[in-house]
């Protein structure tokens, strides 16, 4: 076995272990460890990705001395390695972008706890990405949930704690449903490893026995993960959680945590149930309808919002609706579009959160639109970055958002029954997006008579500005040369089967 095949295992264990190490380190050292771990994991994922692209074969890695149905396994394919790399990039940028705000938001003595949470979150995300075992997935979903909750409430104002409680309640409902579905699935198949379950599921569908409980269990798992990833009717916790937590937390939560769950759902669809079987159930129609509703209602709520960060948070609801709409189409193209949207939304949304904080900082810390007037002149880098993010969200060509919308539309026209609905809602939602993002951009570029607040120059925020530049570059790269990425996604999805 090639040494590179150890990398997924190394990256999970490294981030897990670094969490433990950070618990005895002072804050500064913890920060260094955290950055180093993210970079190391990112590098390993990159090497792994190259290796996988060159071999073209996914591989299975035993976690222990025992083969398939007896021991734990992790599995790495192109999509997994790519996701891991992307998650590391976004996480590093988000951490870097919010670093200067951290002392003001979190009590000094709790900084190292913050880094522990981030490390564990990273490890759980990696485990969700790489795992080949349903129960392992459940355990790491829980780590993900708890550390996300920690990230929400580490900034201890009333709102965040309330949001954390709401988040926990919804997440625990979701976990409960997921676990219940998992148990029924285990009862029917007798396995916990994804590949083995898939074989048994194939047999069950062929035999005809146990079909009803199988579909119920799939439905329960889907609903559980939908709840956890804040699909439309379950999004009540989201605006407060994203709107009031620390900057890095908001960026990480919106772009990574929910995406981890969605990626797990993709894995379940492909590796556990089988794509065709899943598409023959009615579940995809439900996902489709809720996705569409989320797209519209999320945007409508965002339009009404007067607080910039809550507005961005509501826009997340709409964007998650897009992803589920892609699932709901039930075609390979829809799936590719959804996966691409995971990437593009993660890149854009974290950019928006990080840029928004730059704007509010120069407006006396207020997040109301009225105070943000002209903020882009006071912090030019943040202004440009916010504009770029908005344009991407609206779906202007050359940015990543346009490509994902294009892919969605291309996927939609291939599905006879759902074509019109998805295209119309796509159009409406795009226009709604345009309304609230353009309004914000105009607002921050509106001229003020006098400088009520002092501006900030490049010299005051070098790291921050560089982070923003990287974010914008990421967006533009995704928007301009999307083809390699799409190819990779297609290859990765093919490897799933």
């Amino acid at each position: 076995m090639n040494f590179i095949c150890n990398f997924p295992f190394f990256s999970i264990l490294l981030s897990l272990f670094s969490g433990t190490i950070c618990s005895v380190l002072p804050a500064k050292a913890a920060k260094v460890v955290n950055r180093a771990v993210i970079i190391a994991v990112g590098l390993m994922s990159a090497v792994l990705l190259l290796y996988l692209l060159s071999t073209g074969e996914p591989f299975i890695y035993w976690m222990g001395h025992f083969p398939a149905p007896w021991g734990n396994e992790i599995r790495a394919g192109v999509l997994e390695a790519g996701m891991a790399l992307f998650f590391c990039m976004i996480m590093y940028l988000s951490m870097a972008g919010g670093a200067h705000k951290l002392p003001g938001e979190v009590v000094e003595s709790k900084h190292n706890l913050y880094y522990i949470l981030v490390n564990l979150l990273l490890s759980s995300l990696l485990a969700l990405v790489y795992t080949n075992d349903m129960f392992t997935a459940y355990v790491f979903v829980e780590i993900n949930t708890i550390s996300a909750c920690g990230l929400i409430m580490i900034r201890q104002v009333g709102r965040t704690i309330e949001a954390a409680v709401r988040y926990m309640i919804m997440s625990l409902l979701g976990s409960g449903l997921l676990l219940f579905g998992l148990c029924i699935m285990y009862d029917l198949t007798g396995h916990l490893l994804m590949s083995n379950i898939k074989e048994s599921v194939g047999l069950i569908m062929a035999n005809g026995e146990y079909q009803i409980p199988l579909i119920v269990s799939v439905a329960l798992m889907c609903i559980g993960l939908c709840i956890k990833s804040a699909l439309f009717p379950f999004h009540a916790w989201l605006p407060d959680a994203y709107g009031y937590s620390t900057v890095s937390s908001a960026a990480i939560l919106s772009s990574l945590v929910s995406k981890g769950y969605i990626f797990l759902l993709i894995k379940i669809i492909y590796r556990v149930i089988g794509f065709d079987i899943f598409n023959n159930t009615r579940i995809i129609d439900v996902l489709f309808v809720f996705g569409l509703m989320g797209m519209i209602f999320g945007s409508l709520s965002a339009i009404k919002e007067k607080d910039i960060r809550r507005m961005i948070a509501f826009s997340s609801v709409a964007q998650i609706g897009y992803i589920y709409m892609g699932f709901g189409m039930g075609t390979q193209a829809g799936m590719v579009a959804s996966v691409f949207h995971i990437l593009s939304h993660a890149a854009t949304k974290s950019l928006l959160f990080v840029a928004a904080i730059g704007l509010t900082d120069v407006s006396g810390g207020s997040r109301k639109f009225i105070d943000l007037t002209g903020a882009a002149y006071r912090n030019k880098w943040a202004g440009v970055a916010f504009t770029a993010g908005s344009l991407s969200m609206v779906g202007v060509p050359l940015f990543s958002g346009f490509i994902s919308k294009l892919l969605f539309a291309q996927a939609a026209v291939q599905v006879e029954g759902k074509m019109l609905a998805s295209l119309i809602v796509l159009g409406i939602s795009t226009v709604l997006n345009a309304i609230y993002f353009m309004k914000t951009v105009l607002r921050i570029y509106a001229t003020t008579d006098e400088a009520a607040y002092t501006g900030i120059t490049f010299r005051d925020m070098k790291a921050y500005a560089v982070t923003l530049v990287f974010f914008i570059l990421l967006n533009v790269i995704l928007g301009v040369s999307s083809q390699p990425v799409v190819n990779m996604i297609e290859q990765g999805l093919a490897m799933f089967a």
């Binding site: 272990f17 190490i21 618990s23 005895v24 976690m63």
Partner: protein, 319 residues
């Protein structure tokens, strides 16, 4: 053009609005899109106060369930839908269950080659008499590694939420002891007898984890319960002599690191098909079953400390 209508009346007609729209005078965004003139915002103290008051009044009215019928109805509706949803869920699950393979029989899909191998080869391959312990700490050790980190991350979040700084801690301690009798003689006497027994029992459970029912987690919980009892009887002054935040930190750190490293070694050798140097020992002996015993001890230490830490945090926000 006839002047039958006054200008005001005319402005209300459809034709007027239509022509305004036709000539592009009507602005569809006025009043709909938040786009106020760009004047510098000048907060007027009085106006702000008045505004706040009005806002409060409105909020009071809106959230006054007794008088606000709509809110009341909404609550009712919400409850009704929730109950209906739950009934639906019950029905769905019962129907599902009625289709599941019958309980207690051998022919179910659950009893397949996986369980067979665990039972038949478990003793040989892991060295643990308790097959469940062998399974969770050897066959499926990755889950268990994750599980112990769930506990770890939960402790971290509790620390974030409840840890207080020095002065707050003192206040909390004062208020904490207010409702309790200090130095209760009966409690102390009972505790003197019970605590050693409980802790020894816990240690037994941990050490015996691979031979019989029990293991690191349950044993750790028992030890933790013993510590809590001791704390309740004798107060923080006594426990602080041997258990402070530092103790907790380092015990947790060493146990978890040991756990991580040991399991990493085992995973690494397993995946790369290398020979593991850890001896299995004779099944049934106390020093047997490879890594399971040390892992159980590590888990037990972590759990005991964690439970004590939870309790101390809840009580006074520190150790």
């Amino acid at each position: 053009m006839s002047r039958k209508k006054t200008a005001e009346e005319y402005q209300k007609t459809f034709a007027f609005r239509f022509f305004r729209w036709l000539s592009g005078e009507k602005d569809p965004y006025i009043g709909k899109v938040e786009m106020q003139p760009q004047k510098e915002y000048q907060p007027d103290q009085e106006a702000a106060l008045r505004h706040e008051k009005e806002h409060d009044a409105i909020m009071d009215k809106v959230y006054d369930t007794e008088h606000n019928k709509w809110l009341y109805r909404f609550h009712r509706l919400y409850q009704a839908t929730s109950i209906l949803f739950c009934l639906f869920l019950i029905a769905l699950l019962l129907v599902t269950i009625s289709y599941l393979p019958p309980n207690g029989t051998v022919t179910r899909p659950v009893n397949n080659e996986v369980a067979e191998r665990y039972i038949e080869k478990g003793l040989e391959e892991t060295g643990a008499v308790n097959i469940v312990a062998g399974m969770i700490l050897d066959y499926r050790a990755f889950d268990t590694l994750g599980e112990s980190h769930v506990l770890f991350v939960a402790t971290i979040t509790v620390l974030i939420l409840l840890r207080l700084n020095k002065t707050e801690k003192d206040e909390a301690e004062v208020s904490d002891r207010r409702f309790e009798p200090k130095n209760d003689a009966i409690l102390q006497l009972v505790a003197t007898f019970l605590v050693p027994v409980i802790i020894i029992f816990g240690i037994y459970i941990i050490l015996n984890g691979h031979l019989g029912p029990g293991g690191g987690f349950s044993g750790g919980a028992v030890i933790g319960a013993g510590l809590v009892l001791y704390l309740n009887a004798f107060g923080f002054k006594k426990t602080e002599r041997f258990f402070t935040e530092k103790t907790y930190k380092w015990v947790c750190f060493f146990s978890l690191s040991f756990y991580c490293l040991a399991k990493s070694y085992s995973f690494y050798t397993g995946a790369n098909k290398l020979h593991s140097v850890i001896p299995k020992g004779t099944p049934g002996a106390i020093l047997s079953s490879g890594l399971i015993l040390p892992l159980n001890i590590a888990v037990g230490l972590v759990v005991a400390c964690t439970i004590y830490a939870f309790y101390a945090m809840f009580r006074k926000g520190g150790f």
